[in-house]
Symmetry: C2
Subunit: 736 residues, 2 copies
Amino acid sequence: MKHYLEEDDWKIIESRFSEENAKASESLFSIANGQIGGRASFEETYTGPSMKGCYVAGIYYPDKTRVGWWKVGYPETFDKTPNSAYWIGVRVRIDGEELDLHRADIKEFRRELDLRDGILTRTFRTVLPNGAAVTVRTERMCCLFCPEMGTLRYSITPENAAQITIDAYIDGNVLNEESNYGEKFWDGAGHDPLSLTMRTRKSGFTVCWAMQNRVTGLESSGGEDREGYVAEKFSGTVPAGHTVTLCKYVGIVSSLNHAEATLRSVALGHAERGAREGMERLQEKQREAWAKRWEQCDIEIEGDVKAQQGIRFCIFQALQSYSGDYPELNIAPKGFSGEKYAGGAYWDTEAFCLPFYLSGSGAETARNLLLFRYNQLDKAIENAQKLGIGNGAALFPMATFNGRECHNEWEITFEEIHRNGAIAYAIYYYVQYTGDTAYLASNGFEVLAALSRYWVQRANFSEAKRKYVILGVTGPNEYENNVNNNWYTNYMAAWTLRYAADTAEMLRREYPNDYRRIAARIRLQYEEELARWIDVSENMFFPEDPALNITLQQEGYLDKEPTTTADIPEGERPLNQHWSWDRILRSPYIKQADVLQGMFFFPEHFDKGLIYRNFNYYEPRTVHESSLSPSVHAAIAAWIGNEEKACELFLRAVRLDLDDYNREIEEGVHVTSAAGAWLAVVRGFAGFRVDETGEPLFRSHLPKRWKSLKFKILFRGKILQILLNGSKAEVREIKK
Amino acid sequence: MKHYLEEDDWKIIESRFSEENAKASESLFSIANGQIGGRASFEETYTGPSMKGCYVAGIYYPDKTRVGWWKVGYPETFDKTPNSAYWIGVRVRIDGEELDLHRADIKEFRRELDLRDGILTRTFRTVLPNGAAVTVRTERMCCLFCPEMGTLRYSITPENAAQITIDAYIDGNVLNEESNYGEKFWDGAGHDPLSLTMRTRKSGFTVCWAMQNRVTGLESSGGEDREGYVAEKFSGTVPAGHTVTLCKYVGIVSSLNHAEATLRSVALGHAERGAREGMERLQEKQREAWAKRWEQCDIEIEGDVKAQQGIRFCIFQALQSYSGDYPELNIAPKGFSGEKYAGGAYWDTEAFCLPFYLSGSGAETARNLLLFRYNQLDKAIENAQKLGIGNGAALFPMATFNGRECHNEWEITFEEIHRNGAIAYAIYYYVQYTGDTAYLASNGFEVLAALSRYWVQRANFSEAKRKYVILGVTGPNEYENNVNNNWYTNYMAAWTLRYAADTAEMLRREYPNDYRRIAARIRLQYEEELARWIDVSENMFFPEDPALNITLQQEGYLDKEPTTTADIPEGERPLNQHWSWDRILRSPYIKQADVLQGMFFFPEHFDKGLIYRNFNYYEPRTVHESSLSPSVHAAIAAWIGNEEKACELFLRAVRLDLDDYNREIEEGVHVTSAAGAWLAVVRGFAGFRVDETGEPLFRSHLPKRWKSLKFKILFRGKILQILLNGSKAEVREIKK
């Protein structure tokens, strides 16, 4: 755990610079707008510790798979978001000396990210090795109102008269740190003094960056453009105490959204329009755009500033990482804040993110997330076939951009098949929430049918148990691999089969034309297939222990040593950085909610006593080494009235990154778990659910230290404002 | 399956060249002498399919580990035998055209490896693109009588007068095909016209190759020496029908066996001595040396030429791959015939090879194999510590040269811990066979104690079962990973603990001084530790099924689909080349003997009915996709009187490579399984075992089609000749 930021309701503040925290801050202060974004590395040259990263959504490079021992079925490539051109670049020289905080004496330093408007500011006073003292202020944003534009304002005030030069540049000669074979991902594809075009190797995505620079206090001194690099230069003598300011307006457009031939002119158009409107006006528009977002989904926690700052940071991350405008895009686990997890979509989206976007951004956004999978159904069917399961069965990939599997660890790629369950759950959740049963007819059922066809083949009938079993899986708790009858997986399979069968019946009844069309296309054998779905669903085996009266995470779990996390020797956590894999696997320790994930999805399916006993059995064995773990546990702890655990785990969920619980913040922010943290508030503390009639229900499980909890959700065309106060829950409708 | 070789009692013969078989033949005709060896690639230039490989025993390069997802505990390097200088190289030009069978018209071709003397010969008649017709004969050997010498005789007879040039060269500019990052493994370390010295990068082994060339019919035309390459050149005009002959004598010595400064002079000394003695005399010495080996361990099978050729091929492979002269060396799964498995030592050595060397090469050789592990005990203790198991516990590595673990798949490296069991078994087998209990006092017990300390910590007490369990292992059947209570592993653990405790008691009684010395050094707490060993041994859990009355390979095995190998669709074998890993894992299919491996080691521990039922249950589920599988199954089939299976699997064991059952012969010969095939004859068909009084017992399980079986073994200072005829077993002592 690391704690160096100030506490504040709305801002992230770093008031003292330390090189030790440099990379952590690059992650924490990263900004984005769903389309472009990047880490908060400095604009000017910095030779200290840094992992620069600017990213463009939807672009990927098929990096050649690296494994020690190849297994049949591994994908040839692991697609990853390439680090892309450094469009914020500014090179500053004061009296001939380059400004580089690594080699300068920093007198004052303050960095702020205002979550209300997503504008990142930095001010510092520094003395350079040549004695020149300057004060610098920077303001940077990824425009929410125009997702293909980013801006930068960079002001320098020398304390004594000085010769100052500024190169405002865009540098496309960048590499990924996480590259399997150290390959270059981009080739140059054009440049002129104000624009740079680059193309990804193999995948052939083209991106153009164009800039307009407006400078006060310096004269233009020419430009430079070459393969992968363009710069505009300014210089002049600046009197003591006078301020020179560069305003840099950058358009960033890609061949995903525009014809390749028009890229340069569109990008330049954005930059010019930005320059015309001017920085003040653009910042105003940015504030308005963000304010509109917050109006729909802010959460106010009275009485706990740490929790308040944490939850807003989480909501901000979720909002800036995914705008919901395109069904081709999804939510990368690290958003635009780092390279880890390579930028693809994981089951995090369905299990943790979709409810937030549904309530916070609207049904259209959530629907785009569902369509992302629907549009990739063919590839998921191919993927299942590759693993020997045919007849139109689908196994969605563990990680993907375009539907093609990217991941390559057999125990995850081939065995963490519960991801199929979350994909069905997301459809169910969306339909329950919106009442949009037409989605089942247009798209949802096709996916459910393909998932059901997968489960009935993936399960097999055990003669020994006289039940269906699912052998050789990895559950959500990835600290168990290749186990038999993971309760969560079996439950999600059985539930999906039942839900798909019910949906088929509903469609036959209520959408007969759609039903006939789909059934013909997917060659559904109504009688035989549905009977099979129901048979497997009803005769699924579920491991449990009658003595403890709990469900068992998997068969054999009770053979493990009966220790809890309290028995882990000091200094050995996180386990995955200290213990060999076999030791982790045979230990009772749990990475993230597994049995409890299922109870979190479907609390109404289970007796409250069972949830209580399971929580009390499993949570003490859970090390929460997945970012996705604390939020689910916090919610359940709230339900069962374990206030202490609820608060502890909620803080861990919302401040995971701010306080660096998992000691990896340098790699980036946990965006998908940030969206999940919202669940802890709304589903957990506020007990939100939609009943069978489509009514939203709330039930307060507020911790005593919280004076009140206020939040808004979008629900069936309205904005609902919910106020919780002690055990009281008050709902107000606001017309949208 | 591939079948293109002739059948012969003593020879391997290829009578027609086909490029399709080029790499297969390079493997099958490979020759070695335990110290040097290599694949049977052509001496002259060949631009067709080929994987050249010349190897020097004990030399390794620490190749940087390549994995997709790093796990704590993985070794940094995967040591591998480097492909080394091509010392057999000859470049031939006829009237200016280079001799290259890939671009020539082959009129006749015959390659023979005589197993009686290890001399590889090749004759061919070919017409070059320029019309020149020549007949060539080559003879090559790795001298058994002088393991640091190899020779080559290369004769060319032109049909018309021709200008012929020959470059006799040694080329050190070679790469490994199986290199993780395409690195070069060698640097040049010296050269002169007749010698080449190279040094491995990082590991710093130095090897010198020196040559003497004697040519009749051509004149010397100078030489060439440069970094990594030396050549001596000869040329002249040769009348029609006249034969020119190059005799190349090569000394190959390494810094493993000689001071670095002396390498060149020692290597040159070998080459000069060879040249002085001449090829005829050297070949005679080779025949004598091999005849001596065969005298001790030939097996004669009357009535089955395929089996006869197969078993001799196996014995030949075992003899040429490991001479037993140095405890620093071990048996590579591919011997000197390829790069796969990287040349390290695996549990194959203890489980499959040691019995052969004990009977075929002698107790000293087997003892060197035991000392190999004994000398690496400290590293095995470090290895266990790295995986969290301390107190002097040892986990021997999955693959190693110097004791350091090289392998990096968590399910194998960390979990295939049964290898510890084979290491204990090898000690037991050796002591039983030789009566050499003093070995336990000098070395054996220390290893047994460290293994026992491992097992008592690796097992844990299951409250649910009230027994000790061993969770998260991979058994010999690597088509199951991370299973709980693999019967074989549990059995080997329990047996080791008991054997170690008995040995401790025996030593206290019979070797009290040795015992005190060891107990002090390893800080053995006699009472407490032995009590623990016995407790865990006696209370180990063993999965079994009372209904089928069989032992269970692991818990949950009976939940699998009740299919047998007959249900595998055609064209889908071998499974590991067709099925994704998860599908293999959850299938009932078994790669190699698992339960049956334990019954093979200890037939006297089990009721014959149980062995019979287990065989009949598991063999039909076994795909034998490990080279180590058929021999064990053949032996047990012979015991239980399943003659058909015994013969089928025996042929598969001994002709695995000759008939390429596993479709991978191009990668090299299966040397360790070849040694294992011997077990099928001696332990299986001849029912050999040593009783408690040290008497060798035999019992004939001969197939009807074999008229007789005759073989010799070295036993306690004597050579025993065993003749089996029908059900009769006759033993004759031959004084040694």
